[in-house]
């Protein structure tokens, strides 16, 4: 039996990551799923959260993903995410600033459409922060 998982992270724009891993943790809608080699075939939608790529001897890679689904066959795991970025590239202060900006936008919004848009952006920023907190915990 193969003892690695072929992990692929794909966004609509391009293939973001293709790697071999010993275990990958995926944030499924009904809970995190640890994918080891030989996992039963599964398709699940994902919630905004952190994908962890575990590899012996290499550093743990953490990526933030939002919106999409994961497809698991015995030896491969494909995560299709609408948005994905490496956790190390996320600047916490910038996100917090954005969150603050969004809150101000919501206050200043003159019509429902702009408010909805700002609230959307705020929720997104909050999701990222939430994920960062979870990762730190």
């Amino acid at each position: 039996m193969a003892d690695i998982v072929n992990f692929e992270l794909v966004s609509p724009e391009r293939l973001l990551m293709s790697a071999e891993a010993e275990m990958v943790v995926v944030p499924g809608v009904e809970g995190d799923i640890g994918v080891l080699p030989g996992h039963a075939p599964l398709v699940t939608t994902i919630r905004p959260g952190i994908v962890e790529v575990h590899n012996d001897g290499a550093d743990l890679v953490k990526l933030f993903v939002r919106g999409g689904f994961a497809e698991i066959t015995g030896t491969t795991l494909t995560v299709l995410a609408e948005e994905a970025m490496a956790l190390s590239e996320i600047d916490r202060a910038a996100i917090e600033q954005e969150l603050q900006n969004c809150n101000e936008d919501i206050q200043d919004a003159k019509d429902a459409a702009t408010r909805a848009k700002a609230e959307d952006a705020r929720d997104r920023a909050q999701e990222v922060l939430q994920a960062l907190d979870d990762a730190a915990a």
Binding site: P12, E13, R14, L15, L42, V43, T45, T78, L80
Partner: protein, 295 residues
């Protein structure tokens, strides 16, 4: 017979035109490469999406309670056509071909007594279609501010479509765009977006599972409900990327032709110029000689 000076002016003007078309061709070639790369790197996502949808949707088609995006509203009365064109002209038959195809479809639908609504993406399509179908155009989306096409641009349009679908403003949605085959060949394609046209699951997609069946988490219908709206975005994104590559390809070959034509024109004009010059010299000589003989 044009004078020598007139000819000179014409040659110069054609020469400067040639310079412009040559530059445009080169710019288009560079942009084409980028657009092609973008289209290619977007392919894996769309392909996976297709596969999963095919295996999920195949079992859902025809079932009671299948999502509307898959099964349709049950009616076939109002059609929404999304016509994706470019923002700029000078790209050969690119826009004309797309608009022609859309117009054909509109006429056919109208002849069948259906209601037609149009959503234009890109300025050129709007300009051409508003002459005939002003009342049918729901909106026109301006893409001129978009430098590099991102998924956000496509998902914005998709959201718009889904809202309209929710509000039951149309039953069937079709998108028109040009599929990129090569710089010389772009194929105008009409693709049905809503209800989703799902191909039958092919054997190769499930072969690597060794006949095993996927588990679904949450269950199939919920995943499908989550995926179908995403699929609309992905399909639009794909259409826009293909369109962008096709536009640059079409422009490149159009400008290549124009450069060559200008070259031919310069050759012809230069020939006439030289002949005329020779004729002038000859007639001057004759005048001098016959003048000398008369003495």
């Amino acid at each position: 017979m044009p004078s020598l000076k007139d000819l000179k002016i014409r040659i110069d003007s054609v020469k400067s035109t040639q310079k412009i078309t040559k530059a445009m061709k080169m710019v288009a070639a560079a942009k084409l490469r980028r657009a092609q790369e973008a289209a290619e790197s977007a392919r894996p996502y769309a392909e996976r999406m297709d596969q999963v949808l095919a295996s999920l949707g195949g079992s859902m088609v025809g079932q009671v309670g299948a999502p509307k995006l898959l099964a349709g509203t049950g009616a076939d009365e109002t059609h929404l056509l999304v016509v994706a064109t470019s923002e700029r002209g000078l790209c050969g038959g690119f826009n004309t071909n797309i608009i022609k195809a859309a117009n054909r479809k509109i006429r056919r639908l109208l002849a069948d007594g259906k209601t037609v609504k149009i959503l234009c993406v890109g300025r050129k399509g709007y300009q051409a279609l508003r002459r005939e179908h002003q009342s049918r155009i729901v909106d026109s989306i301006d893409m001129s501010g978009v430098k590099t096409l991102g998924y956000g641009d496509a998902s914005g349009i998709a959201e718009r479509l889904l809202d309209m679908f929710e509000a039951e403003e149309f039953d069937v949605c079709t998108v028109f765009y040009a599929k990129f085959k090569s710089a010389l060949e772009q194929i105008v394609t009409e693709q049905q977006l809503i209800p989703a046209a799902i191909e039958e699951e092919d054997a190769s997609a499930s072969a690597d599972l060794g006949g095993a069946v996927y588990d679904y988490e949450p269950d199939e219908s919920e995943i499908l409900e989550d995926l179908l709206p995403r699929n609309v975005g992905v399909q639009i994104f794909r259409a826009l990327l293909e369109n962008a590559a096709s536009e640059q390809g079409a422009r490149m070959s159009a400008m290549d032709n124009a450069t060559r034509n200008a070259g031919d024109m310069i050759e012809k004009l230069t020939l006439t110029y030289n002949r005329t010059r020779q004729a002038v010299i000859t007639s001057e000589l004759i005048e001098i000689i016959s003048g000398a003989e008369a003495l």
